[in-house]
Structure formats: structure tokens, C-alpha cells
């Protein structure tokens, strides 16, 4: 008995043939809830390994070259059949369509921010009772988890190159934060040049850059 392994959601049929998937299964396109899903029929899902992760990324990169937008699905996602796929996707069609629109014509660049110590955090107490102070602290912690002010000098340089940003603080020196940027296809070379030219301005923080990647980090709101 086979099940449906879900690879990605696409803005439309790719220009090239779908080809084969990680398990050497023929890939097929399923039109569901106004979306196009790229799937394969497998008896067993691929075991996560260096080889299968690379293979899945390669499958998607090949197809991405011939379509406007692709939203990779998390590795290892299986559903019972096409009907179950429709049932899973239909309620989220508006969010998924918006996410596809957001990543159209773009790819992802990833920055990691490094430093020997996390910046000190200080803020004034919100005052009020213990409940107010607790909730205010929770709000500030939530905001801080997605805030990377260390990159402000770089953000000014990247300006028009970046369509959207996702940020996640780790605050585990030396790794302080990971930031993903959505960049128009073809602009990644200029993006890297801007990062390189900003290194002095970013001191004492160090930044490493990788990409271009498919927009893995920009479909999460659709979950």
C-alpha cells in the first residue's frame, strides 16, 4: 500500500517534467483547493539522512527554476491519499495562496550572527501589579526572540534588496541569531556584496551568509 509524500506547493505546473522523487518514484501534480501540490506515491517515506535531504532539495530546486513560486513542505510529510491531502490543504487555502504570492520570484538568503556574548538586555519595569509585570515581561521576551538589532547597519544597506525578513534569536554564544531574507532571484550576488561591505560596520558582531536557498522559512505562517 502506498501513501502520498508531499514535497511542495507550486504556483502552477512547472515548465519541465516533474521527474522522479527521493525514493525514485514518479512525481505528479495534484490540483487541490486551487493549489498545485507536488507529490510522490511511496510505500515508505525516505529516512532522513544527508543523502535524502540533499536529494529532496535537489528535486525541488530543479522544478523551482521553471515556476514562479514554490513553497517547500517540511521533510517527511505523508498523507494517506489525495483526498486526505485535499482535506489538509483546503482550510488553509487563503493563507497558502498568500504565502505563494509572497515568495513569487524570490529565493532565500540566510544570515547567522555570531558574537562572544549576547547583548545585555535592560528595560524599565511596566509598573502595575505582578500580573501586569509578568505579562509585560512575556511580551518583551516574545519581541526580543524575533529582534536582531545587531544587524541594523546591514539592513540599511540591504534596503531594496530584501522583500521580507524572518529572525530568530538563539543567544547561545557564539551563535546569537539566525535571520532569513527573501530576495529577488538574481539579486543574491549583490546581497552578498552588501553583506561583505557591511562587516566592519557590524563589529563586534560577525555575520556568515549562505544561499540562495528555496524559501524554506517563508511558508510557516500558513501552518
Amino acid at each position: 500500500m502506498t501513501r502520498v509524500y508531499l514535497y511542495a506547493l507550486l504556483s502552477g505546473p512547472p515548465a519541465c517534467e516533474a521527474g522522479v522523487g527521493v525514493c525514485a518514484e514518479p512525481l505528479r501534480l495534484v490540483a487541490v483547493a486551487g493549489l498545485v501540490a507536488l507529490v510522490g506515491d511511496v510505500a515508505e517515506p525516505p529516512t532522513p539522512s544527508a543523502l535524502t535531504l540533499r536529494a529532496q532539495d535537489t528535486v525541488l530546486r530543479r522544478l523551482a527554476a521553471g515556476i514562479d513560486a514554490i513553497l517547500p513542505v517540511r521533510f517527511g510529510t505523508l498523507v494517506a491519499n489525495d483526498a486526505a491531502l485535499a482535506e489538509a490543504l483546503a482550510p488553509r487555502r487563503p493563507q497558502l495562496a498568500r504565502a505563494l504570492g509572497r515568495v513569487a520570484g524570490c529565493e532565500q538568503m540566510t544570515l547567522r550572527v555570531w558574537g562572544e556574548a549576547a547583548p545585555a538586555v535592560s528595560f524599565e519595569s511596566a509598573g502595575g501589579g505582578p500580573g501586569t509585570r509578568y505579562l509585560d515581561a512575556r511580551r518583551r521576551a516574545h519581541e526580543r526572540a524575533r529582534s536582531v538589532p545587531e544587524l541594523d547597519p546591514l539592513r540599511r544597506r540591504l534596503g531594496g534588496l530584501v522583500r521580507e525578513e524572518r529572525a530568530e534569536r538563539h543567544d547561545r554564544p557564539p551563535l546569537l541569531a539566525t535571520v532569513q531574507h527573501l530576495v529577488e532571484r538574481g539579486a543574491c550576488g549583490r546581497y552578498v556584496e552588501e553583506v561583505d561591505s557591511a562587516r566592519a560596520a557590524l563589529a563586534p558582531w560577525r555575520v556568515s551568509v549562505s544561499g540562495p536557498w528555496l524559501p524554506y522559512a517563508f511558508g510557516e505562517e500558513a501552518a
Binding site: A50, L78, S208, Y216
Partner: protein, 67 residues
């Protein structure tokens, strides 16, 4: 995730593979269904990934890489 598979990924990791693990295992659209990787397993991988990234930075210093 089987521990052996996790070890294989992380012990043979190079720069681009670490980013690949981060992208494919901890990001991407989440669709309800039968996901072969349990959430606890993914969290564990992500913690180990961060640890290895930190270790790699200490060894190699500032890096500039492309996949």
C-alpha cells in the same frame, strides 16, 4: 528520527549540510498528516544543530559560504 540517522547527518556535516538540515527539518510548510519525524526528535536535532554551528564557528571564525 532514528538516532543513527541524526548522527549521520550531524557527524558528517559540512557548512551547507548544516543549513540543509536547518531548512528541511525545521522549516517549510507544516501540513497536518503523518509526519515521519516526531516533533521531539526535530527539536533535538535543532538543538544539536545549533551546538555544531557554534563549534564550527569557533574553529573556522568568520565564514562566507554558498551551498
Amino acid at each position: 528520527m532514528k538516532p543513527r540517522a541524526a548522527a549521520e547527518i550531524l557527524e558528517t556535516a559540512d557548512d551547507s549540510l548544516l543549513d540543509l538540515v536547518d531548512n528541511l527539518l525545521t522549516r517549510g510548510v507544516v501540513v497536518s498528516g503523518e509526519v515521519v519525524l516526531g516533533l521531539a526528535g526535530v527539536d533535538l536535532i535543532y538543538l544539536r544543530l545549533q551546538a555544531i554551528l557554534c563549534a564550527a564557528d569557533r574553529v573556522s571564525g568568520e565564514r562566507h559560504r554558498r551551498p
